[in-house]
Symmetry: C2
Subunit: 487 residues, 2 copies
């Protein structure tokens, strides 16, 4: 049937959606969320149908979101043909997984391809994420998912014999070791094309923190240039579409702050494969305040990382790092960037320095080099490399990182010993203060676990750029136990 | 922050969504799918935020879907205030269930309330459906869910001492016993305010079939009138919002044709409570071709129905009916309505007649009456009652039910015996022929299981009103085994 295009002047944020009048839908037997094939001359795409009342889309018209217009190069008032289409096979595979069955590579690859090509609605992707969360993925499924993500994304193609990479399974505020480890390794002559993510439910991701110092939305060509010049880069992975299924899945995970282990595993390893990494160090922080609470679960995850990486031809070493509190003092992009630059300059939080040196040495040993991370740091070579990278990515060298203008100082209301610091409460506070979108917002924490504090001693400062938020933050503080202090 | 309303002239189909400019979102630290409070004078509602580029929604403006405009009585260019809001508690409860924990009544009620009030996005409702599907619901949770659906919906308030009702757990094409049982019971003087659903993934629901004969979208007031006049009604439950969480959940279930048992159970019983039923007969068809395949599963479901109904004070009897094929000959609204009227007139498919009489007698016995269903049917009293009900609901008496104009006759390609008839294939064929939206589309089946057929004997006819579909149907037939015929 022939329809006239009506540009609704909105984007759907991904999924290819059209809106069709109720009468037309009934005539063609189109149900909400059923599939249509839109044809314009020799091009055609499959879209998801939404049904509207007469007042919104007139009969004979079809409402197009920007994504569909762009894809078919259409404009308002063009004519197109519409045909009913059967639902994609990937939906049957998602249902199969939801029922608890195992999926083949072919089936998983079809799901990932359809996600990447915007053929699945958000409801359908949600069922997939749910199924992976509640029914877990087997080893074979994780291998398949990893391969599928690589196959349906871009790749760097660096043509280097040894390419190293690292990854911290996050969940620990302030854990910005990457931005110290990468310059150390690059200073040692290793190639480290590091891509990082932005925060999902934390106060800042490495990409958010690095963005305080330099642009991180680089193209693949720009990255190759930066790596050619400096041996390394620190960019946002999302811009590269190395694993473009990932971003769509992350959007679905966000409302519930979910992070299914199987998807986590595959999405991390796929991104390493996509940058052509040969040797990868994976850091699993565990402990009461980390994303992975118990050592047993950390060991279990380690085993899975080793098993999957072996099957996809990646040399992986996994280290478990016990974590009872945040690492570094700053929480939030600018506050963390300041900690990082301080460590590189030979100062800064000692826990962040120590952990970064440990991780850097582990990677040096993996590729047969001497563990000389401390020398590279203390000699200023790592700092020099960091400045090179910042410049190569298009950043400006700025020794004064600005913080948000409004502050709330939180002091101890009694003398005692700090017996716990809640990472959840820290991340939550930093986020309601504005992090990570407000780069300068967040927390600065002055004390560590087991420190003795006096009554009235400063515990932490909250930074925000938004005056309106001050009251909201103060209200929220009443319900939050950020630190527990014993008498 | 103050914004100006921009009417995007679209409805979201339920969820309360607004669209905010990227710059504004960043300023206020609004993430996609985060919650905003929209205030206009003394009214305020919570909505879900979507983020748009400058070209779509200008900074300082906020795009409103119709649902939000209506709810706050706003129009284009009005000014409103926007505040960030924390995510609803219901999301934490959904995550809890997804993790496999048990939910309390309070928690389930909060989820259902938020679904009914459009406070949850479709992604979030999908997680809830998924969790109920993969992690099942306990008896207590089913009781809670039933009570929550009743508490958050409308009720009939009939003030009758005895109100009877029936329900068939569907999945069997053509199983239109309700439309025969209800007039029989009403003719026996019983009060039967029957609400039915429309098809989700089948060729027709009872409401779709009844709509061929009379309007089914009645208000609560109209229903009370019809019941007052005739003792009974047969209407679409969706229009009444007896269980309004239900329709939103059904929309989410449709893309994967899911139907989690726990939700099924509660939504059936809640609708019975909402019409003030005191005695309910539940028919569970089971067999290779039914939704419930094994007798064990049917017995298990029976046990759950008994357990939950006992806890909510409903007298329930469950009968298991073995089913190896469709019931009646017609599949699709008009074709089924014709079968029903024929049975009421003393003719029609014998299997449909027999099963309806059995169910009617079971209900008569439940309330202490004599099992005189056959008399009521054969005397024409049930037909007379049916015509009364059709008229009371605003339908016209029409002895000639029209079918779709295009036909495909399918004949046996060899002599033999019919050893199976696939209900899935039947429903699929009827749907691609246009049912249930095209009332006159569907299948008419001439043969029964175990019948001997000759080569060239007519097996079934496919009806469609849409000429364009003929080829598509013929193509689909190649991949479908509707009937298996042994030599």
């Amino acid at each position: 049937m022939r329809f006239q295009v009506h540009d609704v002047n909105l984007s759907s944020g991904g999924p290819l959606i059209v809106i069709i009048n109720k009468q037309d839908a009934s005539k063609l037997d189109i149900l909400p969320l059923s599939r249509l094939k839109i044809k314009k001359e020799n091009n055609s795409i499959t879209v998801v149908a939404d049904i509207a009342e007469d007042s919104q889309i007139k009969p004979g018209k079809i409402g197009f979101f920007e994504e569909v217009l762009t894809k078919l190069n259409l404009k308002d008032k063009d004519y197109i043909d519409v045909e009913l289409e059967e639902r994609p096979k990937s939906i049957d595979y998602i249902k199969k997984k939801l029922k608890g069955s195992k999926l083949s590579f072919q089936e998983i690859n079809t799901i990932i391809k359809d996600i990447v090509q915007n053929r699945l609605s958000e409801i359908e992707i949600t069922y997939f994420v749910s199924a992976c969360y509640t029914n877990k993925l087997t080893l074979d499924e994780s291998v398949s998912l990893t391969k599928a993500i690589v196959a349906n994304g871009n790749q760097l193609h660096l043509n280097k014999k040894i390419v190293v990479d690292k990854h911290s399974v996050s969940g620990v505020p302030g854990n910005r070791t990457t931005m110290i480890v990468v310059p150390i390794l690059a200073a040692a002559g290793l190639v480290v094309p590091k891509t990082s993510s932005r925060a999902i439910s934390s106060a800042s991701g490495t990409a958010d923190t690095m963005e305080v110092l330099a642009p991180v939305n680089l193209t693949i060509k720009q990255i190759k240039n930066v790596v050619e010049k400096t041996n390394a880069c620190m960019v946002w992975g999302g811009a590269l579409e190395l694993a473009s299924a990932d971003d769509k899945i992350i959007k679905i995970e966000r409302p519930l702050s979910l992070d299914p282990e199987g998807i986590l595993l595959s999405s991390i390893l796929a991104k390493k494969k996509a940058v052509n990494a040969t040797h990868v160090l994976i850091d699993i922080p565990y402990g009461k305040e980390a994303k992975i609470e118990s050592k047993t679960r950390a060991l279990n995850l380690k085993k899975k990382f080793m098993a999957v990486s072996k099957k996809i031809g990646l040399k992986v070493k996994v280290v478990l790092t016990k974590t009872n509190q945040n690492i570094g003092n700053g929480i939030g992009p600018a506050l963390e960037a300041r900690d990082v630059m301080n460590v590189l300059a030979g100062k800064g939080p000692q826990d962040l320095r120590k952990k970064s040196l440990f991780l850097a040495n582990e990677i040096l040993k993996m590729v047969g080099q001497k563990p000389i991370a401390t020398q590279l740091l203390d000699s200023g070579k790592a700092l020099g490399k960091m400045l090179e990278i910042i410049k190569a990515q298009g950043g400006e060298i700025n020794y004064n990182i600005e913080l948000a203008q409004y502050k709330i100082n939180i002091k101890s209301h009694k003398p005692g010993k700090i017996v716990s610091i809640s990472n959840n409460a820290i991340a939550h506070l930093a986020r309601i203060a504005g992090a990570p979108e407000d780069k300068q917002a967040g927390l600065y924490i002055y004390v560590n676990l087991k420190d003795k504090v006096k009554k009235g001693q400063l515990l932490f400062t909250i930074y925000t750029s938004n005056l309106e938020k001050l009251n909201f933050i103060k209200e929220s503080l009443k319900d939050l136990e950020v630190m527990k202090i014993s008498q």
